[in-house]
Assembly symmetry: D2
Homo-oligomer: 266 residues x 4
């Protein structure tokens, strides 16, 4: 059984209630209005919150159990050490409140990944603190809402691509376009085509320390990408691929006072 924690920012879904608190002041009035309207749309698409959708798609696989839902409003973002100790793979969805995640929590996530926990960053998590701290790069890209997307499978033998056809289509998705500022991926599993004219390295893996990471582009909050069977399968595949091979207790620099050869030299 793979124990998964789904972290959802869970801000946009509640914006009719929370916009005033999170985006105060005159200068944010238009943003608050836009977000209030969008909140209802998101809840309709997801029959609740984005983490409900993610939990449901993950648990279609009998090997996966979503043990924890964690959100920004929880204490320690819901990512206490107890929760992370109980997590094999952390799935991260976030969009508009990246800077509200305390540095300490983001550093904790990085530490757990380096010590073996898997990490799946979805869609607008590209500038999230954990992803930035793990990759080093800015994650910048260009974007435009409301495009048509065709995802091409460029690594058909990769575990994450198993059962996925040569390409599949998403009727409406946010365009993310190159140049995408990421470190060279270990494997470039998917490249997306957008009808508006852009391409994007949309499925990328990296190893960091003892942990494995996957970034996957689809998942704009008001689009139905997470109800696409291929997208669902890819996320499940990614969780299974990112399952820890091993976990280490701490990352330290030991003094090898005695050299391996010293036993032969005596």
């Amino acid at each position: 059984m793979i124990r998964v924690t789904v972290w959802n920012e869970f801000v946009q879904e509640q914006m009719d209630v929370k916009a005033g608190e999170l985006f105060p002041g005159e200068e944010n009035a238009q943003a608050r209005q836009w977000m209030t309207e969008r909140a209802k749309e998101i809840r309709e698409v997801h029959h609740g919150a984005i983490h409900d959708t993610l939990k449901a798609l993950l648990e279609e696989d009998e090997e996966i159990q979503v043990c924890h839902i964690a959100t920004l409003e929880m204490e320690e973002c819901g990512l206490t050490k107890d929760v992370l100790d109980d997590t094999d793979v952390l799935v991260w969805w976030a969009h508009i409140a990246h800077d509200k995640v305390p540095d300490e929590i983001a550093e904790r996530v990085r530490d757990y990944v380096l010590r073996g926990m898997g990490f799946i960053a979805l869609h607008s998590a590209h500038p999230s603190k954990p992803m930035q701290k793990l990759l080093g790069t800015s994650g910048t890209l260009q974007w435009r809402e409301g495009d048509f997307c065709r995802v091409w499978n460029t690594c058909p033998t990769h575990p994450i691509a198993q059962g996925i056809p040569a390409s599949f289509e998403l009727d409406e998705e946010e365009m993310y376009g190159e140049f995408f500022d990421i470190p060279k991926p270990d494997d470039l599993v998917f490249i997306s085509w957008y009808r508006g004219g852009e391409v994007f390295r949309s499925g990328c893996t990296w190893t960091r320390g003892y942990g494995k990471m996957f970034y996957f582009q689809p998942g704009h909050e008001t689009n139905r990408s997470y109800f696409n069977e291929n997208v669902r399968k890819i996320i499940r595949n990614a969780v299974k691929w990112a399952k820890p091979a091993m976990r280490v207790n701490e990352l330290v620099c030991p003094n090898a006072a005695e050299s391996p050869e010293s036993k032969y030299q005596k």
Copy 2:
């Protein structure tokens, strides 16, 4: 002309004066004693400070000019925006005071690298804040002072390996051994052999954003590695390789409101 800033922690060289301030308290008494003795040794090896040695070896190449020396005790660590704007490649030596570099300065260095500045991390810079923030990993390794090191050239056509033989030897160097927790290098230019029985990926390149990075293992403070002609040439080669191809003003996510294809659809 390539403008280089050499950042040297410049703490150990002054330890007979500064140990009390930097490592106060009873619990650090032994460390202070050890560092006081070492300070003199370092100054003898380097005929002054480590940055003097680095400046001298860099300026043996007519294309390279060390425009700035920056140290921990300077305001903003000597790494003001004016200095970094005037820097093509930043060379970083540090050892015992990584945590004294303010996060803000380390983030600034990361930002300049992502926007194009070259970055050369030497020896004990492996757990330095800029390197951690750029690579994401812990940089942990095992170590032991006072070994013999043979550096093997595993990428003979790389610009950093030009003029370097198949292998060369350092009579005394600190052993750094695997497992070295780094992201997969773009190029693994050197692997070191230690007489005590270890190996180490000692010369590694990465690209981060618009900037290039190189980590190079030799350079223990009391050893004479920086007076080895091959080491000197490698560091100069690295600076020339890391010279910015371009620099960008900011890293942002532009809204491509108008798609490239829209002009054809009208």
Copy 3:
């Protein structure tokens, strides 16, 4: 000065004369007819042969000199050892007669690349013998003539991308689409978008032995891609990038009878 040899199959340009010889028999009658018509079209686009176009675009750079034109009909395909000894970078265009290149000549090209010569494979060279022998993979892809292509720059700091914008367009080019069976590129410099709905890793680098390789997709024989300023610059940049760092006389496995350490053990 970089000495370039342009190898052009130079078959399609002469097909009104040569089709009978190269594609004999009843079963090839339709192919001969089609190729005869195309021959005239190609000669018009290129004001002669494809190697004329390539020579002209290369020599716009004062550092590049096309010292040799080599074609299939020449003795030893024009690739004698004398010619290759006089070649820094070999540019390869071929399409319909890959199997007519003798294995011995393809092996010779591979040997020269492994010993340091640069190699630029253009467009339909993807299943050419030298590229297959150097990469190991099949180079298979999907294709369709007559699409619109937008080339995205996914590695803006790479030497081959210098002076190239974030994207540029080719009004008519043959679509090459994923899955492209190639080894993981060292650098993925360009990804192409096609209006028909495909993506393609269209600019890829590899290192093989002491030599550097670049594959670049544009260049269908009847399209005008080689008259596009960005395409022309990319090919020149690639030649300059692939210039040998060094050349070795032979690739052998020497017996290191005396170990490096033996001198210390006496």
Copy 4:
């Protein structure tokens, strides 16, 4: 169940009988004498042939079944299409008769790997025809018999490294040293240290087409490395890792006459 075919050159084991046939003539007299003596030594170490040792170590894992032993002296080298169709992973040991493998058989192996079959190349298989044809490079290195080897685990989370400690030792192994002419590995799983002073990238993975490859250095014919528990486990791990994710019937370039977008444009 993973079906493995072990290909063993099986020449050196029989050299007291076969040297005259394989290495005829005056100029090979000394080689024949040396090989005759060595034949007996090899048979003693392996209690028979090298393929006996490999079969035994592989079948310690219940998931692995060695379905076929194939050798140079068999018709088609024992690698008929029927055998390869019945093979998930091909293990290749060879040393002194690489050139006796017909090109057609080596090309057949390459074709099966590109279409999904796993391939494990052991020790002196580095210049074997299948490895050369799959990697493109020369595989050259330096060597010396009779050294002590310590293998370092540089990729502890890789499937091939599972259950393997940070390092392990081989009391006697042939030294293989850098520069090793290989394409940049997908993963560099092991680096070896030799007491004589060299290092070697001794465990490397690559993907070629739909197939996975692993090269592993230990296995000199007269040494007992294949009786080391870590070596045995690594080879079993490699076979399990290289098990085909999928197999394809042929590698072709289909004409995508109808574009994916055409259905939307009607």
